[in-house]
Symmetry: D2
Subunit: 137 residues, 4 copies
């Protein structure tokens, strides 16, 4: 089950200087960047190319809502495993559980509502059919 990319996906992210702050740890807002990189790679693994989605279909994914717990402080040079798991699939959006793990320890975890919208109007749009098909019923 873990290896079905439509269910649980993981992407490694290295912590660089740019990610840290004066406290010596990862700056809190940067976990949202890490979560987004993992979502992008997860979409790519499911055949969704966001550059083409924008250019050809005029569609884009946006985050509508996020609940994030910042649990521990990741450090420079750490490699974090950032996960994506679909908790709920609706017609125009997904609810995803994401976690940034150092080994087995969660550094940050989040529930993210990612919606598909039209780029011109930002109005909700149906998830791309190919993605919906890959995610199953």
């Amino acid at each position: 089950v873990q290896t079905d990319p439509a269910r649980v996906f993981a992407w490694p992210v290295r912590v660089y200087y740019e990610d840290t702050d004066f406290g010596g740890l990862v700056y809190y807002a940067n976990y949202l960047r890490f979560f987004e990189r993992a979502r992008t790679e997860w979409l790519r693994s499911l055949g969704v190319d966001q550059q083409r989605l924008a250019a050809e279909d005029g569609l884009q994914f946006v985050v509508r809502r996020a609940e994030i717990g910042f649990l521990r402080g990741a450090r420079l040079d750490d490699v974090l495993n950032v996960t994506v798991e679909v908790m709920e699939r609706k017609h125009t959006y997904l609810r995803l559980r994401q976690c940034a793990l150092r080994g087995e320890e969660p550094m940050a975890e989040a529930m993210v509502q990612a919606a598909c919208v039209r780029r011109d109007s930002l109005k909700p749009a149906a998830l791309p059919a190919s993605l919906a098909a890959r995610l199953g019923a």
Copy 2:
């Protein structure tokens, strides 16, 4: 009431190129930067200097939890009014309501739990006495 900086505080933030992304709007994680700038200025308005707090008292504020709604897309050159309001005060942390407004319209809003911790151990610490005094009973 609105003008008591211990209750509702507002700080203007201009949207620059660096804040936008390929979608033409503010990149979602950057609202957390805007919220943090407003918190820093709010603390400064209450007499808390974070550089000195770190150097002299070995203390730091960290965000433990954030629930954020991304409601509308702010654009390049917009000026956002970013607010801070204390919803709850505990011994070692604050629950803050924050909003990024363009005029009267909220672009993003959040509930943020900001905790005071020891810089060496990241263990919870009592809020600085001067801040607690300013925030009242």
Copy 3:
């Protein structure tokens, strides 16, 4: 002479947590963000609105070249005065001298070549007429 915004312009930038890194000082690439904020405000002071320039004229400023010296490390809470000075004006680009000063001390200084381009093709375009007029012969 100092107060003629077409010659020397200055814009204050506060250093926040997000700007610092593990070293405790401003992360080097962030000076380029500070320089860009000052250029944006300088253009605004000369009547150039980049959002409108993009939407109405299909034009955008891009940095073609930058030579930057990182001289000292600015710290959390510092206020930097970021300057813009026109060194050379060509048909399609400007050579600007920029400095990030803490009091009288330069933290970083740069020579920046900022070019006007068509947004669709990224081909060079004449500087906006209103800007050229403001910058003089």
Copy 4:
């Protein structure tokens, strides 16, 4: 020669949403982040762990000077190959040539002076002996 990591090193960097701006391309300052990631991985490949260098030896690398040409605009989803090449080795610093390539095309190229400094004083320090040994005479 190309494969000797002490001479030419290459590191792949994917362009994500966070890296782009309103113009639809990579925000110019972010190339400096990409260059720094490649330098970090290059140092790691030569046995230098910057977290340990800071904690055990009180040393840090800082960029003193950078000359950057922004040649073309990389796009969302592009994979850039970011190179590091030692052009000159001095007692306390290195002059590095760095390039961000998309296929064979350079998007940005830079000459970077990276100096080793004491973390407490920011005074110049000799390059770590192990690194100097790896870089040869």
